[in-house]
Amino acid sequence: MAKIIVYIDDKKLEAESGKTILEVCRENDIEILTMCHLEGITDIGACRLCLVEIEGNNKLLSACTTKIAANMVIKTKTERIKKYQRITTELFFAERNHVCSVCVANGKCELQKLGYKVGLDHIRYPFLFPQCEVDTSHEWYVLDHNRCIMCTRCVRVCAEVEGAHNWDVMNRGNQVRIISDFNTPWGESTTCTSCGKCLHACPTGAIWPKDIVQGQLNKNPGMITELIEKRKLGL
């Protein structure tokens, strides 16, 4: 691929054309916050944390889905972007019921880390407190909708990597929920292979194994990325 020049946060960088802004930033140790992105699976630009400003474009674009172009001038840390990252994080917390103190992911949660990163000490918006179900029907795993942030990483991992497509999203708007098969209990799924990839892909404590308690969750989303890499190499 041809090399082109881009300017990110006033740094002149050389990068391969065809790459996304996110890829180029990560290669050059420029931090971009993400939540719905998971290396190796399709990017959907849904969480809006990776928004960047591009000179000459009055719209904010998601770094994970936007490809670089020659001489593109990109800003990743403007005041506006920082402010929006904070609001997005606040909305994540306010949308469902995130109670860190009783969560299996406490201390290992990507959402919690994101909160620290953007310096979120409290949420300025009223919490929505929706009534959410907890699906404990699977023999080994639990799906707790209270902690789900609808990043759909589980959906994509299951469909793209495992090839099972057990998960999808139902309804729309703020009524969206992750579903298994025909919105039937996970334990009754005819498509789930119980491979556990969704568990590792999940950034929060929404999917977890039954045999652990508060703060004990250990996830390894990198494993999924590695798996994809290995497959590409035919290993």
Binding site: I44, R48, L60, T65, K67, Y84, A94, R172
Partner: protein, 548 residues
């Protein structure tokens, strides 16, 4: 059918029409509005009436598309006099036929607007309702039978297609469209010619042309009326567009709420195929193009291009980030052109009369005409088409006949849930893309709702926010959670429980959702809120608690 055969058919149909000019043509409006008021029964009764009187030879009865003043229906128009009768039903059709056909003397107190005008007009074209209008997209609506392709042919139908296929290269067509300066009538106002050119430039063995008839704005029914009243015009526009960009397959995505439009468009496809105007080797040329109807399933967001594409692919209608734009990677990853119904309805006249002609109508930046669906607190609600740049005052007070009961005008809502409210001090605003944006509203697809003082603007903002919240696809965070949060805050303020902090939160969220959302729905969802905050801030202030 080849070119010569088409020409012969058109000539024959036109001659027929000329012959008939001496006779009476009775047009019965069978737009959705008049059908709901009983025009189908009326049509039957009228046929019986004509038969009993033995007038079949002198009279042709034509069920047509929308004539405009929908709340006066059912409407019946007599040609060539161009006399329109309002609120005609099975009981009062007899005297009308007697007077108009037999005695040639109109019944004044049944004419259009006779109940509100001191002197109604015998020739409806003289009525201010029509006089200020200029019909291009709606040109033949109300004059032809939408279910007969020959009626369309007699009104210069498919002549533009003929011209394009035999006299113009795709570049010529694009040039002509660019020259006309027509802009997308779906809402955003992107220059149509530029859009075509972009799709044309992508090299791909497969390209698609989609007609966007997913008119989801509450209060808008322009596309519906065009599709129901003159489906062939839209189809012709699609074929020309496909020829220009090099697409071989097209989809007409029509709202499921419009069964009549779907039926008529499917019929139009069938008729056009039969005559060789659609399908393989159109009019004997090398160009082939096929169209399929896709029925929308009730999701406002599917009016957004990428969501519409997902829906055509049989999936959830969730939008995708752009770039890549559909012009590069659209339906099944192939270059795809998407145009709105009204835009496509304007294509044939541009080809026939030239881009120059079209570009001279309207304002320098917004050429042509725009169809508005006039509704709300207005005397003559219905469908109108005016040159861009007509002022709001002209539309409301001259065409629309003013407010019922002489109430004071408070605001006009344009663009539905993506638009905003225009207050009384801007009554003289020219209705074009830029002016409306500068007032914090948008042209949108053309819904125009008139409000008087009985409308509470905070409530109006809440109403639209609820709409956007329900219609949000739920994919991106700002729109999914932001619209819900804004709705809750508006609800709180409407219940007089809001605080200053809530108002500040609301303003901050509105700007955030506008800028951070993934698609156009989210980006425009805060518009009704922002515009009412801008023009009617006091109404919010009056409702918040003074503490914190």
């Amino acid at each position: 059918m080849n070119r010569q055969e088409l020409k012969t058919t058109i000539e024959a149909e036109k001659n027929k029409l000329d012959l008939q000019k001496t006779k009476h043509r009775i047009c019965v409006c069978c737009g959705a509005g008049c059908i709901s008021s009983g025009s189908e029964a009326l049509l039957k009764k009228l046929q019986e009436e004509v038969e009993t009187r033995g007038l079949e030879k002198d009279v042709e009865i034509i069920p047509t598309g929308c004539m405009g003043p929908c709340n006066q229906g059912p409407l019946v128009k007599f040609q060539p006099e161009n006399t329109i009768y309002q609120k005609v039903d099975c009981n009062n059709i007899q005297p009308v036929v007697q007077a108009q056909v037999v005695e040639n003397k109109p019944i004044e107190n049944m004419l259009l607007f006779s109940d509100s005008r001191s002197k109604p007009f015998v020739n409806a074209k003289d009525d201010p309702f029509y006089k200020k209008q200029l019909k291009i997209a709606l040109q033949d609506c109300g004059d032809i039978n939408p279910e007969k392709i020959k009626d369309y042919l007699s009104h210069d139908g498919y002549q533009a297609l003929d011209k394009v296929l035999f006299e113009m290269s795709p570049e010529d067509v694009i040039g002509e469209i660019k020259h006309s300066r027509i802009r997308g009538r779906g809402g955003a106002g992107y220059p149509t010619g530029l859009k075509w050119e972009t799709v044309y430039k992508y090299v791909s063995p497969e390209k698609y042309m989609i007609c966007n008839g997913d008119e989801g704005d509450p209060g808008a029914f322009m596309d519906r009326s065009v599709l129901e009243g003159n489906p062939h015009r839209v189809l012709e526009g699609m074929i020309i567009a496909a020829y220009a960009v090099g697409a071989n397959k097209g989809y007409a995505y029509i709202r499921g709420e419009y069964p009549l439009a779907i039926k008529r468009f499917e019929l139009a496809i069938k008729q056009a195929k039969k005559m060789g105007l659609l399908g393989s080797h159109i009019l004997g040329t090398e160009f082939s193009f096929d169209v399929e109807v896709r029925i929308g399933a009730g999701a406002f967001v599917c009016g957004e291009e990428t969501a519409l594409i997902a829906s055509v692919e049989g999936k959830r209608g969730t939008p995708k980030p752009r770039p890549p734009f559909p012009a590069e990677s659209g339906l099944w990853g192939k270059p795809t052109l998407i145009n709105n119904v009204e835009t496509l309805a304007g294509i044939a006249p541009i080809i026939n009369k030239g881009g120059e002609w079209y570009s001279e109508i309207g304002t320098p930046k917004s050429a042509g005409t725009k169809v508005f669906a006039l509704a709300g607190k207005i005397n003559y609600a219905g469908l109108i088409e005016v040159p861009m740049g007509t002022t709001l005052r002209e539309i409301i007070f001259e065409i629309g006949g003013g407010m019922p009961g002489g109430e004071d005008f408070k605001a006009a809502q344009t663009g539905g849930p993506s638009g905003g409210c225009i207050p009384a001090e801007y009554l003289d605003v020219k209705m074009d893309y830029e002016s409306l944006i500068s007032l914090g509203s948008i042209m949108g697809s053309g819904g125009l709702i008139i409000m008087d003082k009985s409308s509470d603007m905070v409530d109006v903002a809440k109403y639209f926010m609820e709409f956007s919240m329900d219609e949000s696809c739920g994919k991106c965070v700002p729109c999914r959670v932001g619209t819900k949060m804004m709705f809750d805050l508006l609800q709180k303020i409407c219940n007089n429980k809001g605080t200053r902090i809530d108002l500040n939160r609301l303003e901050e969220l509105a700007v955030y959702v506008k800028e951070a959302s993934l698609c156009g729905l989210g980006a425009s969802a805060p518009n009704p809120l922002l515009s009412t905050l801008r023009h009617f801030k006091q109404e919010y202030e009056n409702r918040i608690e003074k503490e914190i």
